[in-house]
Symmetry: D3
Subunit: 144 residues, 6 copies
């Protein structure tokens, strides 16, 4: 969806990304990178005793992977403004395969560029929504 | 701040985290992990021609690093509910050093556990706010 | 180029990829991953005394990065057959920014799928060809 | 084999490397480093439906790991010229253990240094050839 | 334990760290980082034939992870002097979960700072001691 | 030195390893892997105010890299027993290039295998000793 200029997107435009399997290696690498070694993610003895029963991927891991699943085209994205209503609605376990589904909710023309409001859902192979969020991204207009 | 149980935190409790310098290696590693190689982050020729004039850390990198800067104590955090009003307000460049400042805005007792609403600001060594967000986290109560 | 099915490509079709800056971190990470710590790549005292005068990216690093620069579409690529005439024609130094330019040389219909022969050149920001190669890739046909 | 100077190698000299098990973590790390997240390598649902029936290591991963399995001695290798007839002849699956077998095919004295032509086969624990290639490497002569 | 200034620790003070599960990914990443690809750690065919019967984590991996399990407070640690009687007393296998138990054995006031001698034991989920060591660390005194 | 069987080494045998430059990326990757983000290593503002004046590599980073610099031959090393008198005697800064110098101090025949006591010094490009240690390693005897 981020491979189209502001003027190429319409309210209602939808896109589905490719998918990626979240592995044990991903959780270890994200814990390492972020420094977040909370035992729910990285201690299997601890995780086994929680309501989840096993290690769970970090919420920010899932959000971060989502940004890389979405196709982006150089020159299109000007800046990432922010997110609203980010909700982690289901856990992502080792071996789950996630994808991103997105829909343009609003467009706001700012002259030289525009801002799109996108509803993003991250779903797993069981079609459960793991995370939903509203994204605001500044997009360039198509060069003449 | 996430090293205290629900009943140990008060509305208005504040905390400042340790700091971490964001390096070129961090940007490369986050691009690799997330799969987000947008050239603003990873192509120095491209970045030089944008309004930023140089490569910029991914917004999700900054948010992810923030989660690891905050002290967490095993057993305290039950689940990460979500975020609201996440705004990227200043770029993070290679060599910037960031920290997290947080304050408890609200507490909501749910019986067996509680939910805290936290205002989080990520600041750099020039005391600029790079990102602000409202976090909702479910915390356990202190074991008897 | 690998985002198009066999029947969507023509002999002579050309494509240019996005670009990526090769950093010191990339060389360290590739040395680590591959296990190839040859000092031309990872010992700056040693490299300073060679004809290159500084550390040089591994040839296989450059080839590996190239595979990720090329757009690929799930379902299109069936298998990677091989390469011919792979030649490293210029060194890649820390800070160089590389891209891939490709052209379809031949198409061979195999019935259920097809094999394309691609001339690939990896170029840096000075438009020098760092590596040239002939690739053979099996592509699926567009689903009905 | 690359731990011997040009004048220490003979046509017909053979060598077998140590072995390395290719893990799920290796595939994730190579996808991350290279940026090649093609779902045959990184989406287990997708891979299950291909002719391979499971995730397959990237061809370039196998070639890259091979370069690190071969013993190299500082000062011996002057430059990596290129490869010919690179063929991926069998898939490498998660858990396979690969090694490199090499034989000097030709030597060409260039005065100050020499070029050796090497036949390289990458084999797994079932002695299947996963990749074969002809390598051309410039080697220094033994210092007096 | 390293989150307390020299004057806040007493001989006999004890601490137990959080725990971390050592995964196959950790062993691959440590082999990559350190360059130590000894097949006992990274070749499952080889490891199966040793007295351990399976791959074993590097001793230095276990020691390195231990340093990150211990809580440290910015400003407290002045320098890491060294270690004595470092003994690897039990193997760490893929899937084991380790923690650090430490006790202050001696304190030596050096005027502006102090040196503490710490007995450190790294234990797994079966309460076996995998490594024991005596550490010497220079700690700052509490700022007035 | 660890590429020779117990009966191939003599008391007094010496060896010098290849060298490796320690980069900013190495420090970030080791902080990530180990979880040790102590600001002396990872916060350049903090480090600038210490007696070192800049970021310093972790002691365990230096020791870990040393294990990978030493040549090891599959089948030779049976087990790593431990270390004594490990002393960090000079800091390793970003850009320093380190090597390992080792000498066999003692040999002890245990029948089926033997234990060697090795004096190891890690030196930088200025020939300063950064770390010295006594290692004890169990080595196999040469197969008949």
């Amino acid at each position: 969806m981020l491979d189209k200029y502001f003027d190429e997107l319409e309210v209602g435009t939808r896109a589905v990304s490719r998918s990626r399997t979240i592995t044990e290696a991903d959780i270890v690498m994200f814990a390492a990178f972020s420094g977040d070694w909370y035992p729910l993610h990285t201690d299997k003895e601890y995780a086994a005793k929680t309501m989840f029963g096993q290690r769970v991927a970090h919420g920010m891991l899932v959000l971060s992977v989502a940004t890389g699943l979405v196709d982006m085209k150089p020159g299109v994205v000007a800046a990432f403004y922010g997110m609203d209503k980010v909700r982690f609605t289901a856990p992502t376990f080792i071996g789950d395969t996630i994808r991103v589904e997105a829909e343009v909710l609003e467009k706001s023309d700012k002259g030289a560029f525009g801002v799109v409001t996108i509803k993003q859902e991250i779903k797993n192979q069981r079609d459960e929504v793991c995370n939903s969020a509203i994204l605001k991204v500044a997009l360039n207009k198509k060069p003449a």
